[in-house]
Symmetry: C2
Subunit: 137 residues, 2 copies
């Protein structure tokens, strides 16, 4: 089944405090939530743009995934998240097609979504997230 | 005025022919258009996901922007495009706030949109596109 929309775009930044004013004052968006995801060693700030959220990611630990990403590549776009229905089935289907998964079963992400990542090596360099909001059901 | 939605996400790939099957067979999207943008030295393939398009970009010239991007960073997410109304005003507004623009006036992009880029140095590492579909008016 095809994804319904782009749920969010994850962007790695050095500092939420520095980056939030760009999205608010220049882009005209509103930060509606700042949340710490301890498991991922990040603080996140969210903005809505139509169906999609911009999710700024600030590392809380240099050894966490965003800390390492910024050390290697600098600030920039980190991942794209596709909203799907039936995430477990999508993962099994992808696996059966030889796709390399980072998460073979969904885990809890920011805002309570069920999330799983496809490895960028299987997605032409793009860290690709599938996510499902089961509170919709 | 705030952007209405994410118009597209641009992804740099070595080969459309290799990357399209991932988006079609694994992600379940449909490529509805392949177009050459001679000005940008790219061939593009488009997929719809809700309000947003995935735009795969294959370089037609190693000296073009996508050729250089891939040489430096490898395949991956290249830019995010925000759909706006009144692109000229948005550019003047951004400039007045000290934002560095790549395009100080809009030019024609893929699918006939008016587009302009904000420099990633002013956008925390993200190559940020503003675009407007004036055929809507």
């Amino acid at each position: 089944m095809e994804p319904t929309h782009i749920e969010h775009i994850g962007i790695a930044v050095n500092s939420l405090e520095q980056a939030i004013p760009f999205y608010e004052k220049v882009m005209g968006l509103k930060c509606y939530n700042v949340e710490e995801v301890a498991d991922q060693k990040v603080r996140t700030a969210f903005f809505r743009v139509g169906q999609t959220k911009i999710e700024l990611l600030e590392s809380t630990d240099p050894e966490g995934p965003i800390g390492k990403f910024i050390e290697k590549k600098g600030e920039g776009i980190h991942h794209i998240a596709f909203a799907v229905k039936g995430i477990e089935n999508k993962l099994r289907e992808a696996e059966s097609k030889g796709v390399r998964l980072i998460d073979t079963t969904p885990r809890k992400g920011a805002e309570g979504l069920d999330i799983a990542f496809i490895h960028p090596r299987s997605a032409f360099g793009v860290l690709t997230e599938l996510c499902e909001d089961k509170s919709d059901e």
